[in-house]
Each structure stands twice: as C-alpha cells, then as structure tokens.
Amino acid sequence: MATFDFLEIRHLHIDYDNLDQELLNEVIREEPSFQWCISCGCCTATCSAGNHTTFNIRRISLILRRGEVEGLEEELKKCMLCGKCTLVCPRDIQLRNVVMNIKKIILKKKTA
C-alpha cells in the first residue's frame, strides 16, 4: 500500500480502535437525552457565552464524541448555565444537565 502524507500527521487522526468514550458513556448514563444530538448547532447559535467568545457547545459535543477529553474542562468554564440551549434544542436535550455532568465527572476523575 502506498504511503499517504496525511497519515503522517498523528494528532489529526481519530483512532476508532482506541477511542476513549468513558466520559461520553458516563454523561449519557446521567442524561440519556444527550444521545439524540444531531449536531444541528442551534445551541451554539443562541448561546450567551458564545456571543462573547469562541465558546461553542456544539463543538464540545462533537469532540466529546471523538473522545478528545483534553481541553474540555477549560472550555466549559465559559458556560453561564443560562439554559437557552436547552430551550432551543429541537431534540429536547437537557444541555444544562449535560454541561453540569461533564464538569462533575471531570472533577470526580481529577480528585479520584
């Protein structure tokens, strides 16, 4: 097989054999509605924090699914928990609870 250059850039790969979905599964266990997400981006469009900065709740949902846990905590600090995302979500996902749970689980892992 020919060697492709893009395969050389390791940090851009999503390795589905070693996908760390522990956090995702735990969040889904606490808030099952999270699995209905279609990544439509309504939450991001309405976000109060997203209006001030690059905070992007859709992206958080995506990178969580990809198992990229690093940087998640820092990013989620910006959320004001106002709950607009929950109200606009066409799939009725309780995003406030999702954010709270991601933060709680990360904190639990850090202290454990």
Binding site: S48, A49, N51, K77, L81, C82, K84, L87, I93, R96
Partner: protein, 606 residues
C-alpha cells in the same frame, strides 16, 4: 389504694429522655445560630412580636387553622389531636390541683389520675370527669379520622398521603394506641370504682359484665404507660419531632431571622418542622407528571435520614407551589437552594471574557436578560414602549448579554454566580443610573435578592408599565380580546407581584379570572430550578397547564416571563403574548387611531 406503683416507669423514662433530648437540641441550635441572629433573637423578647409569635404558635401549632382553610375535616383531625391532647394535659393537672389543693404532686400523677384516685369526691369532680371524658372522645374521633385518612384520603380533600419510615410507623402506631389504651384503662378503673364519667362509666359497666376485669386491670395501665413511653422515645427520630420544633421555628421566624444561602441551624430547624402532612404533594405539578421523589416532604425526609438526595434535590423546578401550600410556612425554596449550594462541589467557571462589555452613562437601564433575547418580540416591544414614552434608556445587554447569575445559583454554584453578579454590578454602578428595568422575573428576583445596588430602584417591566399607565403616560385602550394572565413563578410567588400586571392587562383587554391564579398559579414547567428533571415530565407539566388555560377559551395567554412565553408557545392551542407585547400593540393601535382622527378632521375641514 395503689396496687402496682411500677407501671409509670415507661412513661417516666420516655418523658425524661424526651426532655433531655429536646433541651440539648435547642441549646445546640441556638449556639449554631450566627452572631447577628442571636442578637436578633435576644432583642426579639423585648418587642411586641412575642405576642404575634404566641398567637401563631396557638393558631398553627395547636389549632392548625391553616389546615382548616384547606379542608375543614383535615383541619379538625389535626386540631382534635393537637389541641385536644393539650387541653387533656392542662385539664388533667387542674383536676389534680382541685382535688389536692396543692401543687405538690409528681408530674405523672395527673396522667394516671384515675388510677391513683379511685374516689374523687372534691367539689366539681363530676364536672372534671365529664370534661376529661369529652376531651378524650374528641381526640378519639381525631384518631379515627386519621385511620380513615390512611384508607380513604379523598374525603379529606387529599389525593395522596406520604410514605412512612420505620420510626414514623412506631411513633404513629404508639400515638394512635395512646388514646384507646387510656380509654381502656380508665374504663376498667370505672368498672371497679365508678370514678369515671359518661363514657368511661358506661364502658366500665359493659366490661364488668363481659370481661374478668381484675385480670387485665394492671395490664391496661401498663400498656397505656408503655404507649406513651414508646411515643416519647420515638418522637425525636420520627416526623413528630415537628411538634416541639415548630414552636421554636415560629419564635425564630417572628424574631426576624431570615433563611440564608448556606445551610445553617435555622435551615435545620425548618427541616425538623416539617410534619410530613403531605399537603405539598397535592400542590406539586410534578406528581401529576409521574415524578414522585422530588416533593418537599420527601427531600426533607431524605436529608434527615442522610439518604442520597441528588435526584430529589436537583429534579425540582422550584416553582414554590409547595411553599405556598405549606401549613407550617417553611421557606422550602430557600431551603432547597441552600441545600443545593451545600451539596454541590464548586465546579470552576470563569468569566474573564466578559470584561469587554461597554460601559455607558444613563438614567434608566434596561436589562433584558438571556431569556428575553430568546424571545426577541419582548425586547422590540420594550424599545417601542421606551420610544413612545420618550425615555432615554440604555439597553445594557443589547448585544453582549451577561447572565444575571440566577441559573448558576439554582444549580448550587454560589461562587460562580457571584462572579457574574459582580460583573453586572460593576456595569450598573458605573453607569450612574437611578432605575433598572427588567423584563425577566428570574433576573428580577436575582437582582432584588442577590445584588447590592445602592441608590438604584429595581423595577419589573410590568410594574413600570403600571406606573406609566397610572400617570397617564401610556394610553388606556381596549384591544377587544379576552385574555388570561399567567403568574410566572419567580414574579408571583417569588416576588409577590400579583396586582400590577393585572392592572396593565385590564387596561387593554378583558381578563378572565381563574381559580388557580396568584399564589396558586400553575408553573409552565421549564423553570431553571430543574437540573436533572426528565424532559418528558417538563413537557407534561406544560401540557397540563395549557390544557387548564384552554378550557377558558381565551384569545391570548398573557404572561410576564420570557421563559414562560417560550415554553407555552410550543403548545399552539393559545397564542402567547408577553405583557410588553400587549402594551406595544395597544400603543400601535392608539397611534393609528390618532392618525385616523387627524386625517378625518382634515377631511372635514377641507
């Protein structure tokens, strides 16, 4: 004649234990109060509020008047047990004093008087006997009602009763047994000595004909004493702890001690004051929606038993309907918030990025809040109103909105909420404004309770509109539709603003009066208090509330909360308008009419 002087020991042990326990408890509670609360409490005894506290203790602790208002039969049940027993104790002691002409007798003597005094022959003995029998009869009717209530609660106007714990069951059964056993013991006494009255003598005669009285006479007094002893020992660990605690709570409340954001001994006293009567269960809309573990009675019970409270604590909308219904007047919303703050680990939030927001000088500030930005019609309407009034208003969060902090506070994140509060406070204070107008009741409640804004009057938009109409600066005009006003939880029960929005709506439309309004208003179901409540339950609450409104066939549902509007608008049965939108429509109508009259007068003139 005293045949077995030992049977009083169970009662004695129970009473001494209870007295010792309560003394230590009350001292501990007092010590744990904050310094200022202690000062308030000491000062309180010099004020007239003491009388109010005594009046409330009698009205709520003994007579249970607030339960009477809910359902007379339920009120009678509670009153017969509490006030009846109280009178029985008082009269019992008076009877002994009348008999012996002295105060020098052991305190248990009055409790077992019929045993120790087989031949009461003092003046008025017959009257006392009749009164004691009558009081016992009243209490027994209360016990009978309590048993019936466990089986058929509907006749008491209740849909549900609470689930009981082991200690509650012990205490409940001993309480229910005390009075039949007293009747049994006194009747057997009456069988021997005929020292009773209409009830005990009649029963005694029946006993002497049908039962071998001598075999069970001592046993009956033993059982009576044991039931009292068991009840007193189980009391501190059961729901009956509310009996002594409620009195302490009433006095502290009248002393002006307020609930705090942190869990303190006042909160603990309130927790113990819950009698688990179950009246909050019927008030809770979530019960209808199939959620049966978040109700106040259960969450207080879980905390007392140190059980896992996460689901029941964070699954509540904090609409406050239970707080309004509570006959003990416990500050359930504040308790829940304080407990959420206590139960949550601080999750770090950081809002450094918000510093870029603009600062501006203004006389009046309008703060829309996140939810108003979600329902833009409200902010456009507000702008229309300000334009019409010719007010120079700084729209503080027009493009970069900072949350007021209430959602974080409700999620138990006190420190993070304080960050946002500080940001907003800085912006507002720098502007030099005198008035702050809000169109979201959640923000309004937060600004009023959690912010310190000296020299600034915080006004809800409905209150502001009401003022403007009364001053004649806004027109009164009938738009010709039938409306229903929905009290938002944070505005009505939360901030006690009921009449001003109604006045505004009455100025523009024909308002239908509802049964469930003001303090009993329904919740829309989307309140920010609910953190881990399943969406199905929320939607069910919304649907039920909307179904209630739809029965009155209004042309529009008027609310004063963007969150309620957003939630109700999903159900398309009734168009939903905010009070600002209604006002803006009225202004448009008024302006159009003015133009028309101007045009007509010109036509006539030409």
């Amino acid at each position: 004649m005293i045949r077995d002087p030992n049977f009083q020991y169970p009662f004695l042990i129970g009473t001494i234990f209870l007295f010792a326990y309560l003394t230590i408890r009350v001292i501990l509670w007092y010590i744990k109060l904050s310094k200022y609360d202690k000062l308030r409490f000491i000062h309180f005894w010099k004020t007239k509020s003491v009388w109010a506290a005594i009046r409330d203790s009698v009205a709520d602790g003994l007579l249970h008047l607030s339960i009477f208002k809910k359902n007379p039969l339920l009120g009678y049940m509670h009153m017969s047990l509490a006030f009846g027993w109280f009178l029985l104790i008082v009269m019992g002691h008076l009877e002994v004093i009348a008999d012996r002409h002295s105060l020098n007798f052991p305190f248990y003597y009055a409790v077992f008087y019929r045993y120790y005094q087989p031949h009461p022959d003092f003046a008025g003995a017959k009257v006392f006997g009749a009164v004691m029998d009558f009081l016992l009869l009243i209490i027994l009717s209360g016990v009978a009602l309590a048993i019936i209530k466990r089986i058929r609660k509907q006749i008491f106007g209740m849909k549900r009763t609470t689930r009981l714990k082991t200690f509650d069951k012990i205490a409940l059964s001993s309480l229910w047994l005390i009075f039949p056993l007293r009747l049994l013991a006194e009747s057997l006494s009456a069988a021997y000595y005929h020292n009773g009255s209409f009830m005990s003598n009649t029963l005694g005669e029946w006993f002497i004909q049908n039962v071998r009285v001598s075999a069970i006479y001592d046993l009956s007094w033993w059982l009576y004493s044991c039931s009292l002893g068991f009840f007193f020992i189980a009391l501190p660990f059961s729901r009956y702890m509310h009996i002594p605690t409620e009195i302490v709570f009433i006095f502290l409340r009248h002393a002006g001690i307020m609930p705090k954001k942190y869990w303190n001994s006042y909160a603990q006293i309130q927790m113990y004051s819950c009698s688990r009567c179950g009246i909050c269960l019927d008030a809770c809309q979530l019960y209808e929606a199939g959620v049966s573990n978040v109700q106040s009675v259960y969450f207080l019970q879980f905390i007392r038993n140190n059980e896992n409270v996460d689901k029941s604590l964070f699954g509540c909308i904090i609409c406050g309907r239970c707080q309004e219904a509570c006959p003990v007047h416990i500050n359930l919303n504040d308790l829940r918030t304080a407990l959420r703050i206590k139960a949550s680990k601080p999750l770090t939030f950081s809002y450094e990025y918000t510093q870029k927001a603009l600062q501006q000088k203004a006389g009046i500030i309008y703060f829309a809040g996140c939810m108003t930005h979600l329902t833009p019609q409200i902010k456009f309407s507000m702008r229309r109103i300000f334009d019409f009034l010719g007010e120079d208003v700084w729209f503080m969060d027009e493009d970069k909105s900072i949350c007021c902090g209430a959602p974080l506070m409700l999620a138990g994140q006190y420190d993070s909420a304080s960050q946002l509060i500080q940001k907003n406070t800085e912006l507002i204070m720098a502007s030099g404004a005198k008035t702050l107008i809000l169109s979201c009741p959640i923000c309004y409640k937060a600004f009023r309770e959690d912010y310190v804004l000296p020299g600034i009057s915080i006004k809800f938009h409905a209150v502001y509109l009401n003022e403007m109409i009364r001053q004649g600066r806004l027109p009164k005009i009938n738009l010709g539709f039938k409306t229903i006003y929905h009290d938002p939880c944070a505005l009505g029960r939360g901030s006690k603003i009921y009449d001003q929005p109604r006045y505004v709506i009455d100025s523009y439309s024909q308002r239908i009066r509802l049964k469930k309004e003001k303090a009993e208003a329904l919740c829309c179901g989307a309140g920010l208090g609910a953190i881990n409540l399943p969406i199905e339950a929320k939607n069910k609450v919304t649907f039920e509330a909307m179904s209630y409104f739809a029965r009155f066939k209004p042309n529009a549902l008027i609310t004063a909360c963007p969150l309620c509007k957003k939630t109700f608008a999903r159900d398309r049965r009734i168009p939903v308008l905010d009070i600002a939108e209604l006002t803006a429509r009225a202004i448009d109508e008024y302006v159009n009419e003015q133009k028309k009259t101007v045009r007509e007068t010109r036509l006539i003139e030409s």
